[in-house]
Symmetry: C2
Subunit: 376 residues, 2 copies
């Protein structure tokens, strides 16, 4: 199989942005091209969940190719709900590995703040199976049910998973890319408004705008793709065997580790999908960093902090960097590249880093992705 | 480069269908899997333009994977406006050629008749550049301007391009897949309602529902991929150098021929994007079957009829098979496979067929695809 490298990454600041979705995508893409030292690529992938309904943008791959001055390169839009950014990365990898293209640009973004919060919730709820949506199920409501089950099974308390938000806000406190640059306490989390019991406002990632981009190539560079995996899952929750683990992450991780020929204990740090912060805990178990039911204890003991055994979300994660849905999966990979190259500024993990893992959730864990990178 | 074969195809009847988009996709996918003699694949691509707005379907790749019983395989949605079906095919090819997957299922579909015709027009017009859309430009209006220019430059008359619809309806007259099974005359076309002068109703493809699917694999089979190409173009028409040719098709064709190592005169027959029937004429020139401005003369002289030198749209094309936007690009490829295998029933071209070419237009020719297949 053709080896593929990552030669450049770029990201906008995430948050409430005045620019259009296309402006944000173009900004991040120009940074990635500059970082890669390229002004041309052979193909373009654009990951975004729902630009039509969030941002009234259609035919977006062509629009972005045109705005970047890349016409007539092939330009294709990729979508797998909230893991669209990781999916765009995967397609860029397959395209480069196929031998059809030498260098490929993956761009991912979302502009969510142009519509009302109610409208955002409604659009996001469209990923829920119709037979469950018709009872008024929303994403936070279903996530809350999952967390309730985890609490029941493993004895975690609300103050325990509040630590995810506290840690991730701390990691992002000086990040120029993060939606939030604010320290918060466990008390702040526990006192924040209940969204869907036991999830409070500060257990949920914010509604954000932002974009991230990356250049992948078959030419040797400082970061190499070592493994990737994607797994799908039954859409209705009622058809799943377990709630406290996501089968789609486990399958994705298994494939990525197998391809990489390494094990969870080899990973230096990870970016894990924390759209709802307890999902970071479940994710850290699903990718093999902790035994089932032990992730919250590892968190409590500081193992996932920036100085711990396996730092998770040094970027601040979706919670503090923000969660423009389609952008997040690729933003994770950009952060991983910067960390592996020792270029993560104030967020840099201060030790030698060899392997990075990212994990992204699509929909309510119906299409999850795991990516493993290596510093070479 | 890894060789890739097409081992199975399937299609629903196109037209106004009662079934949901997912039902149609599943129906076509089951047929393709059966044709390929497979019950499992390693990955799934779903091409569709705008299921959110046309059919209130979201997270569609996961939903289709689940409905097909394919969980936990990777499932990814692909979109390039009206060429989404061809783009899904291309991604399936890259995925199989990359060595990551052995067999890949590409599905493409659209359900357009659930919303009003006005709403369909509005959704389709979203592919037009905002600076041109704001003056009320619609797809037929811009297509009409392009055709006006062709008429001015090359002396074609309305009765000349009416022959495209007449030919394509004739080709589809006994097709079990076609939206229309009705012979029409030049007089019928000329007397039909004016949509955007000089385009009449019968010069425009209908609003349809439908889906098509295909299995591609690295295992040897009866039809082989020989070439593919994609080309993008400036989105605003005001930024294009020429109207009477689509640069995006020319680039796509050039790449596909180069990869295949063959020439336009080697092609046995073609499926060409005739969403507006004069586009078939432009397309037939852009892929090299005719010199610029000569396509309508070739049509008039019967060269593109089923018994002519280079039969175009033996399926009936988008005009008569119907045009569920995201489905059409893949439906063309399915028809090509059937023709190459001699299994096109009443539509079969009665001679030895070696190479087939398909050409699909995304948006107003902003992202076009050309695919070349070989009977082996």
């Amino acid at each position: 199989m053709q080896e593929v490298y990552i030669s450049g990454g770029g990201m906008t600041k995430f948050g409430k942005r005045k620019e259009t979705l296309v402006d944000l995508m173009v900004e991040s893409a120009r940074k990635a091209l500059q970082d890669a030292g390229k002004d041309k690529v052979d193909a373009l992938y654009v990951g975004t969940m729902n630009p039509e309904e969030f941002a009234a943008e259609s035919n977006i791959a062509s629009v972005v190719a045109d705005r970047l001055g890349l016409v007539p390169v092939p330009a294709t839009r990729i979508e797998t709900a909230s893991s669209s950014g990781a999916a765009a990365f995967d397609e860029a990898i397959y395209a480069a590995a196929s031998g059809y293209f030498n260098s490929v640009l993956a761009i991912a973004g979302e502009k969510m703040t142009s519509v009302s919060t109610d409208r955002v919730s409604k659009i996001l709820a469209e990923v829920i199976a119709p037979e469950e949506r018709k009872y008024g199920a929303t994403m936070p409501a279903l996530a809350a049910m999952i967390i309730r089950r985890y609490i029941y099974k493993y004895g975690m308390k609300e103050k325990d998973f509040a630590e995810v938000a506290v840690k991730n806000h701390k990691n992002a406190v000086r990040s120029p890319y993060a939606h939030f640059n604010k320290l918060i306490s466990v008390k702040d989390v526990l006192r924040s408004k209940v969204i869907a019991d036991p999830l409070k406002l500060y257990d949920c990632s914010p509604i954000s705008d932002g974009a991230a981009s990356m250049v992948v190539t078959s030419e040797k560079s400082r970061v190499k793709l070592r493994g990737l995996g994607q797994g799908s899952e039954h859409v209705p929750l009622t058809r799943r065997k377990k709630f406290t683990t996501f089968q789609s992450t486990k399958i994705a991780a298994e494939r990525a580790y197998k391809m990489a020929g390494i094990y969870p204990e080899d990973i230096s740090f990870a970016e894990i999908h924390d759209a709802f912060t307890p999902f970071e805990i479940i994710g850290s178990e699903d990718v093999g960093f902790f035994e089932p039911g032990m992730g919250w204890i590892g968190l409590k003991e500081g193992e996932t902090s920036k100085t711990g055994r396996i730092p998770i979300n040094p970027s601040g994660g979706l919670k503090a960097r923000g969660h423009p849905v389609g952008a997040s999966g690729l933003a994770q990979v950009v952060e991983a590249v910067w960390q592996l190259r020792g270029e993560a500024e104030d967020r840099q993990i201060e030790r030698e880093l060899k392997y990075a893992l990212t994990q992204s959730i699509g929909g309510l864990a119906t299409n999850n992705m795991v990516i493993i990178l290596e510093a070479v």
